[in-house]
Symmetry: C2
Subunit: 282 residues, 2 copies
């Protein structure tokens, strides 16, 4: 595995690959099985794979955990080597945001107005901006993102389509711990007690599935039940619990067709997200 820290070195490697297919897995590092599942998917589809590790400052709010975000490049590097990664791209801030940088990519409308877009202003502007830079530097054939960040995936699909980028966006299923907790680099923040409370997210999704299976079609009714459950969970404070259209992420009141149930819940001081897409019949 080669590791590059500069745009110039990364680009030189990309040029050397000519028309070979390249799969990109953009990450913020502190890799877990969720990330590694993306690397494996990329490896199955492409002749070469590149993983980027960059904790992007512009997607964190001023009160968020940018400084505290867990980092361990040596461990990540060993994981990626084992998975057969060809290139690790780990740039510095100055490489990604040259002095005086003033350019941003935004996706407007329902895709970014609700859910994490509402509670993390500027987050998706930061994500779209940095991912478009990575796309320009690495020029991948395909790029892989986890479905855990469902809104991010929808935003990046929209960006790639609108911006006429010749890149296929591939979404991969959420990877969970044996007890159901969605894998996240932020799970490391949880105390043992909070770790138990964190199960409330995946359990809420399972509860909703049961209610939909038994015929409930009123989004507000299920939502109220989930809010009650979180109210009774120690350490839990709901950021949002929303049923939205799985395509445009606009809120829905009646469950029908492809519907996304998206959750963001603080467990102690750690903000966790989880989601599930339902195909709802009449």
């Amino acid at each position: 595995m080669e590791t590059f820290a500069t745009v110039e070195a990364m680009r030189a490697w990309r040029r050397s690959q000519g028309s070979r297919s390249v799969g990109l897995v953009p990450t913020m590092g502190y890799l877990h099985e969720g990330h590694l599942s993306l690397v494996r998917a990329a490896k199955a589809d492409n002749e070469r794979i590149v993983v980027s590790i960059y904790v992007n400052p512009t997607q964190f709010g001023p009160k968020e955990d940018f400084a505290a975000y867990p980092r361990d490049l040596a461990r990540d590097s060993a994981h990626l080597e084992r998975e057969g990664t060809d290139v690790l791209f780990a740039p510095t801030d100055a490489e990604m945001y040259p002095p005086g940088a003033a350019t941003f990519v935004t996706v407007e409308g329902t895709l970014t107005e609700g859910l994490c877009g509402a509670s993390r202003p500027g987050h998706f502007r930061g994500v779209a901006t940095v991912v478009s830079k990575l796309f320009h530097i690495i020029e991948p054939t395909r790029a892989y993102f986890g479905e855990k960040d469902a809104q991010q995936l929808a935003v990046l699909r929209r960006m790639t389509l609108d911006q006429r980028m010749d890149i296929e966006i591939v979404g991969c299923p959420i990877v969970r711990e044996p007890d159901g907790l969605a894998m996240s680099s932020r799970n490391v923040y949880l105390s043992a007690d909070e770790r138990r409370s964190a199960l409330s997210l995946s359990q809420a999704l399972a509860h909703a599935e049961g209610r939909i299976r038994s015929g409930e079609r009123d989004a507000a009714a299920i939502r109220a039940e989930l809010l009650d459950r979180f109210a009774e969970t120690s350490h839990a404070r709901v950021d949002y619990v929303e049923f939205v259209d799985a395509e445009n992420l606009a809120p829905v009141t009646r469950l029908r067709g492809r519907v996304l149930l998206a959750l963001a819940v603080f467990i102690g001081r750690t903000r966790l997200i989880d989601n599930r897409t339902f195909e709802v019949g009449e």
Copy 2:
């Protein structure tokens, strides 16, 4: 010359060129000698040249001349054929803005706050958005823009740098009519009487040059003289007359180093721009 109207056809041609150098001249059509000078510069530097013609709706304000903007694809096509253009890319709106398009590229700060950015809100957002799409579709080695649109050139240089695009931005000198009027597709709007008044712009630049040569270093003093001249010019109404830093376009009060004098003046209902960069000694 081949002409493509779809992203797919344009991209297929680009792929067929492999690693050949490609020069792109993005235009809104109704080509004049200014545009053709860009085509010739592109031809001198690159193995293949592509000219795009697209009147981009998102860079026009609601009260501007989008609908009236002059168009003559047959004449433009003949000009480009004569210049040895390899490809004319003339897409439809639906190709450039797919249904539901919601993604925009913005350059923030002094580069877009003043001059045309102040009097045409959203203009540079439209320009940066459409040019980045053209870059993604055509993947040029170099792209050519006229120095008449000095602020546009500065904004696109910033965008390309910030977005880590592997494209060289080339600025080319303003091309003028024999009497000094900067060439513009909008000159066709001028009546014979207005056409005479339109000379006031290039004459203002010449006047400023004389004053700087004779030692004037106070931007406000020269600006006041220019405003007086325009006040005495029939049909003329000043939008802006500004001395700015040639790099970051921030206003300057004392003339020193590389300074841009930028003008935007309505002649009748036609808004004309012109500019000149001065290297000012102590």
